[in-house]
């Protein structure tokens, strides 16, 4: 029996204080992890998976040959996913996409893609989670629910911990939640502002107007009384270090990137009065890494096309949901994602009409429909590597258990070698 230090490969918190008790290749106990982390490590069962071609068992070599054949024959292939694997594998995926002249897109496309669009437009006044822990005295959760989606965020970074300049911990912070639903996060907040669906943009602009001292002749906006918004503005102006943490409640609702532009503009305005910053709550554990790797490799973070021999970036044209909805791609290579479970059925159903390859460390919906399924070792469980936390801090993923399977990087390299041999 031994105890191994691990980094949890689930959400963008990348908790790196996990201790795993292992005996004979089995996880006996997961210390420090949230309930999802515990389930992730204890339910990991790589022995259950074998390579498959059209649902039938195959050797790894046969699966690699068929995968290469599918990609070789495609005229407009898509490489998609990337968010639940290491930066090393993401880099190899970019190399492959460039070589085949295909599209490459990560799951950013349907989480914080609009956030990237906004940041390209108005900038990113940001900080690390450590700075929040040590300094923040006002925390605003807007359209996010960390109690359920990032279970240790509140305890480890944003609300409970005692910090260098906030020795009182929870008592030293005011916590505000703005959401359509009274979520569990709202229930642990000091103030909950219940907003109507699709009204975030209006509320941000009213907050900006109030901050500028405008006299508004309205009683409420987006279902929130004006007096409550005046009170929030006063709290924002008078805090020492404020942070807005936001989620899909802004990116997936009406306005999309315009909501984030308004939020960032409010934060920019607030810096005339005090220190105020903003961070997106990233979901998949290395979706931030996918943005980073694609950007340093190509200059662009997602929605990329290499068909002209150089990278072209165009959300709406080269984004996965659009490519599938318009039935434009003729083959796909999917890694570290499950689009048949997570994309709108109107888009993902098209995958059933084209050949596609899936690399995954577990049984997924996409794997069960794939023309070729190649099981891989799970990053952060069976192989080490690099991942980026939601605040852009790179964190080391560690190996905890052995795996009989190759890594994403090795499989991508195997496909690439076959394509180059032609």
């Amino acid at each position: 029996m031994e105890t191994i230090s691990a980094t949890c490969p689930f959400c963008g918190c990348l908790c790196d204080d996990i201790q795993i008790v292992v005996e004979n290749g089995k996880v006996l106990e997961v210390k420090n992890g949230c309930s999802i982390s515990k389930t992730l490590f204890t339910h990991h069962d790589p022995d259950d998976l074998v390579p498959q071609i059209e649902g039938k068992k195959a050797s790894l070599e046969e699966a690699l040959d068929r995968a290469a054949s599918i990609i070789r024959q495609a005229r407009f292939p898509l490489v998609f996913g990337l968010s639940m694997t290491s930066c090393e594998a993401q880099r190899k995926a970019v190399e492959l996409a460039e070589f085949i002249g295909g599209n490459i897109d990560s799951t950013s496309t349907f989480c914080h893609g609009p956030t990237t669009l906004a940041m390209q437009s108005v900038g990113e006044p940001t900080c690390t989670l450590g700075e929040i822990k040590n300094r923040a005295d006002l925390v605003v959760f807007w359209g996010c629910n960390p109690v359920e989606a990032h279970p240790r965020h509140i305890a480890r970074y944003s609300v409970s911990p005692k910090g260098l300049f906030n020795p009182a911990g929870r008592r030293g912070r005011t916590v505000v939640t703005v959401d359509v639903r009274a979520t569990p996060t709202a229930r642990v907040s000091d103030i909950f502002l219940q907003i109507q669906p699709h009204k975030d943009y209006e509320v941000f602009e009213v907050l900006r107007a109030l901050l500028k001292g405008k006299d508004l002749r309205i009683d409420s906006v987006g279902g929130i009384p004006l007096d409550a918004l005046k009170d929030l503005v006063n709290k924002m102006k008078s805090c020492k270090f404020g942070i807005i943490l936001f989620g899909m409640g802004l990116t997936m609702t009406r306005g999309r990137h315009l909501n984030i532009e308004a939020a960032i503009s409010l934060v920019r305005d607030l810096n005339q009065f005090t220190k105020f910053l903003i961070i997106p709550m990233r979901g998949h554990y290395n979706v931030t890494g996918a943005d980073a790797v694609l950007t340093w490799q190509t200059g662009y973070p997602y929605a990329l096309n290499f068909s002209r021999g150089y990278p072209q970036y165009n959300p709406g044209e080269f984004t996965t949901v659009d490519l599938l909805r318009r039935k434009e791609v003729d083959a796909a290579l999917i890694l570290a994602s499950d689009p048949m479970a997570s994309l709108p059925r109107q888009a993902s159903s098209y995958l059933e009409e084209i050949p596609f390859v899936v690399l995954d460390c577990r049984k997924s919906y996409s794997a069960s429909f794939a023309t070729v399924f190649i099981p891989v070792a799970a990053s952060g469980v069976s192989i080490s590597g690099t991942a980026y936390r939601m605040d852009g801090v790179p964190v080391l993923l560690k190996k905890v258990l052995d795996s009989p399977h190759p890594t994403d990087e090795q499989v991508l390299d195997g496909i690439l070698k076959r394509l180059r041999q032609r």
Binding site: F10, S35, I36, T39, L40, H43, D105, T109, F110, G113, P114, L117, N145, V147, E148, A149, P151, V180, R181, A182, T183, P184, A186, R187, Q194, P197, H198, M248, G249, T251, M252, T253, R254, R256, H257, G283, Y302, A303, P315, G316, T319, T320, V321, D322, L324, R325, D338, M340, A341, S342, L343, P344, R345, Q346, A347, S348, R362, K363, S364, Y365
Partner: protein
């Protein structure tokens, strides 16, 4: 069948996150991702109780979901955890952003009389 109009919000739930790690084909995952949450006031008005089956439909598709009454939902709003069933009801149009609108979707709730 009687029907009522709602706005649908999809999102994460703790059970959905945990169940996905147990396996996408586990009963826990299938159960959680076919659950629709409805506010207490709406549930009473429509005569719905925990576990009852309802059909949700819109121009994208339709699906059968079982009801979970939630204290936190305002009237007129439904919530379904992310998953393949919720995705039956989400339009794939992205408005040139790449992002489908997964929150605030018009749906019709149908219930046997």
């Amino acid at each position: 069948m009687k029907s009522w109009k709602f706005l649908l919000i999809t999102g994460r739930s703790l059970k959905q996150g945990q169940a996905a790690e147990q396996g996408k084909f586990s009963p826990e995952y299938i159960n959680e991702t076919t659950t629709v949450e409805i506010g207490k006031e709406d549930a009473e008005k429509l005569g719905l109780s925990d576990g009852m089956e309802v059909k949700l439909k819109n121009t994208c598709g339709e699906g059968i979901f079982h009801v979970r009454i939630s204290q936190g939902l305002p009237s007129g709003i439904l919530f379904i955890p992310y998953g393949p069933s919720a995705n039956l009801l989400i339009p794939a149009e992205t408005g040139g952003t790449g992002m489908p609108g997964c929150k605030g979707i018009d749906v019709e709730l149908l219930k046997e009389r």
